[in-house]
Symmetry: C2
Subunit: 63 residues, 2 copies
Amino acid sequence: MKNRLKVLRAERDWSQADLAARLDVSRQSVNAIETGKYDPSLPLAFRIARLFGLTIEEVFSEV
Amino acid sequence: MKNRLKVLRAERDWSQADLAARLDVSRQSVNAIETGKYDPSLPLAFRIARLFGLTIEEVFSEV
DNA sequence: GGCGCTAGTCAAGGTCGCTTGACACCACAA
DNA sequence: TTGTGGTGTCAAGCGACCTTGACTAGCGCC
């Protein structure tokens, strides 16, 4: 799973902590997802996509 | 998280075991997802959507 | 009656997702 | 120099995801 979180975040000038707060998860979770340590759960993936006004497929892609 | 697995499966006349084999997961996992015991992981959600030729949003929806 | 297929469920176990709390490193401002 | 924000990482813990193996129950068919 690859994702465009870092770019989407940069486009809005948000820190990892900013994004974490908007998603209601910990900063460490955002960091882990961005750095590829693990994939988000499906509900969190939905929240991420909706936050950026995109579909899940537009944010995440299979390797 | 709601999903249309049962309907999509019925449209194709697949058993839970059939679907499980196509997704490379156990029959119990398919059953658990259908009966709402838990949500699939994001990678599995991708596999499910692709198998049916749909987007993740077309298969799954937030409550 | 018995047989085969389907769906639902349970237990036990391993890995993943997410948490809190802490620490280190870097860049930059005061 | 001190400090502040941003990022990356670690540990420990808990619940979610997924597994194998087994069991129950309903259905149609022989």
